[in-house]
């Protein structure tokens, strides 16, 4: 990657560009990346975007720098703060929230996420932290998935445990709760979405300096590969300068 921006900055920019004005975004643990993306989107093209920082319940907090924890005291004061049980209510209501930010130990070809266990649940080879709020993924208008690990161990054909449901593998009418499901996957290598026909993960753009076969090799299942895979447009100067206004300590440049 270019030295002018970091991989995390590029990922934040890709996420930000995907957020639409007026959407309500909810994010969970380790919020620096989605929080940066939301603030960037608001600053540039989505002035009425709303975002909730997970456990804190803060809505549209604008701290001086990017907090590492979703319950960081620095998130207050925020224009409005929901008690966590109210966030849970709105997550279940479904029509209140638009974009759920998720990730996983494993992410599969249909966008299912696993935060629980690699190997059988009862005798895990690897135990993850737990599912937190991601069972609400299919209830939200859509979800976006991001991960720092684009490897065959993370990107698997089928997750060992479904924490956060992705797309069903069946036909269109089976879409649960009539919501859109995962609409974007952002990794250090690429941006991906899902093929509208079979709803398998599809390569959309490769980040500058990354080859298509490099992404395919890093993915543990057969990606849908369009004939043309453009390069992810790098961050503009404006994007970078806005992004860095709230990141004086370079959390995204580490």
């Amino acid at each position: 990657m270019s030295g002018a921006y970091s991989t995390l900055e590029l990922m934040a920019v890709v996420l930000a560009r995907n957020l639409q004005d007026g959407e309500v975004v909810v994010m969970g643990a380790v919020p620096a990346l989605p929080l940066a993306a939301c603030r960037l989107a608001r600053a540039l093209h989505a002035p009425t975007l709303w975002y909730i920082v997970g456990g804190s319940g803060t809505v549209n907090p604008a701290p001086d720098s990017l907090p590492a924890s979703s319950c960081d005291p620095a998130l207050r004061p925020a224009p409005s703060t929901l008690p966590l049980p109210d966030v849970v209510l709105l997550e279940g209501r479904g029509d209140a929230l638009d974009v759920f930010c998720a990730g996983g130990l494993q992410i599969d070809a249909h966008g299912n996420c696993n935060l629980v266990s690699v190997g059988p649940w009862a005798h895990p080879k690897f135990r993850g932290p737990g599912s937190v709020g991601i069972p609400f993924l299919p209830v939200t208008k859509r979800s976006v998935i991001y991960t720092m690990s684009h490897t065959p161990r993370t990107f698997v054909e089928r997750v060992d445990f479904v924490s956060g449901p992705g797309h069903p593998s069946g036909p269109e009418q089976d879409r649960p709760y009539r919501r859109q499901g995962p609409s974007l996957v952002v990794t250090p290598l690429a941006a991906l979405d899902f093929d509208p026909h079979d709803r398998r993960m599809r390569l959309r753009t490769v980040h500058p300096g990354v080859a298509v076969n490099q992404v395919a090799d890093a993915t543990g299942f057969e990606l849908v590969l369009p004939s043309q895979v453009p390069e992810t447009p790098p961050p503009t100067e404006r994007e970078l300068s806005e992004l860095r206004r709230w990141d004086p300590h370079g959390v995204l440049r580490r």
Partner: protein, 290 residues
């Protein structure tokens, strides 16, 4: 979703469809969103199902007396020490209002279910020993507890199509802050498909941000905000003004008969648009009474 700042006469027809399920906040004679309620009366919008707080007063009695309510979900309509609710009583005794009998517990849990996407809630203990669920098969059914296999009453989720509440303050992004008490108004707002909030005043985002968790609602939940200082009159707005007992008693006196009710509505509500009503109220009492 973006919240609009509207006048009462704009907000009410914009978001209250005829026949809708309407939730109206305010407990007893405090924090009733009367500017919005009066506007419904002026525009004669028919309410399919009116859902109130666990205890309602004028905000329910006025709509019922005006003949606008088909079904009512309310655990209490009355005026505490000032007496019973004349229009409610007359409508029920005359058979013109269908009451979906319930209590404070069931209603609060039903709104919680509505806010959280839960289909129903098993009722807390106590109601099984009353006659309430027996007379209301619409809201109450028996469910089998899958853990104990015992039968138990359940209450269906309640989701207003639109919830009307009073708040003290709004900022320009549409965030709102409750005054002294959140009552069940916050919950009813979380359960509403749409929310219209009537506020006393606009404040800066800095002031809004100083309110602690649980005392505000974020603007993305609000469809319209109506700035109506004095708009709870004759009920109280904590921190702003007390209830106007003379005005409430004048209503109760007038509403003893259908004719009196009609005459009262014409004289005090229909004759004036809401800004003129509030202007008149402000002329009658010192500003900032608390």
């Amino acid at each position: 979703m973006s919240c609009e700042f509207l006048s009462p006469s704009e907000a009410v027809p914009r978001w209250i469809a005829p026949g809708a399920t309407v939730g109206v906040g305010g407990m007893h004679m405090t924090a009733a969103p009367m500017s919005l309620v009066r506007e419904i009366v002026r525009q004669r919008i028919r309410i399919g199902r009116l859902v109130t707080s666990p205890s309602a007063s004028l905000q329910a009695d006025l709509l019922i007396g005006a003949g606008l309510v088909e079904e009512l979900i309310s655990p209490y309509v009355g005026f505490e020490h000032l007496g019973l609710a004349p229009a409610f009583r007359r409508a029920v005794e005359g058979g013109s209002l269908a009451v979906l009998e319930c209590d404070e517990g069931s209603l609060t849990h039903a709104l919680y279910a509505g806010a959280g996407g839960l289909p129903f809630i098993p009722c807390p203990p106590g109601i099984d020993l009353t006659d309430i669920p027996k007379v209301n098969p619409t809201l109450y059914r028996q469910v089998q507890d899958p853990f104990t296999l015992e039968a138990r009453w359940a209450v269906a989720a309640v989701r207003p199509d639109v919830t009307l509440v009073h708040c003290a303050e709004a900022d320009e992004s549409g965030n709102v802050a409750f005054g002294g008490f959140p009552f069940t108004d916050r919950l009813m707002a979380l359960a509403g498909r749409r929310v219209i909030v009537q506020v006393e005043r606009m404040v800066s985002q800095e002031r809004m941000a100083a309110h602690p968790p649980g005392t505000t609602l974020p603007g993305f939940l609000i469809s319209a905000i109506v700035v109506a200082p004095g708009g709870c009159h004759p009920t109280a707005a904590p921190g702003y003004y007390g209830r106007d007992e003379d005005a409430i008693q004048a209503y109760l006196e007038a509403a003893r008969t259908p004719e009196g009710f009609q005459e009262y509505v014409e004289r005090t509500i229909l004759r004036l648009d809401e800004p003129a009503y509030l202007e008149q109220v402000r002329g009658q009492q010192p500003a900032g009474v608390s």
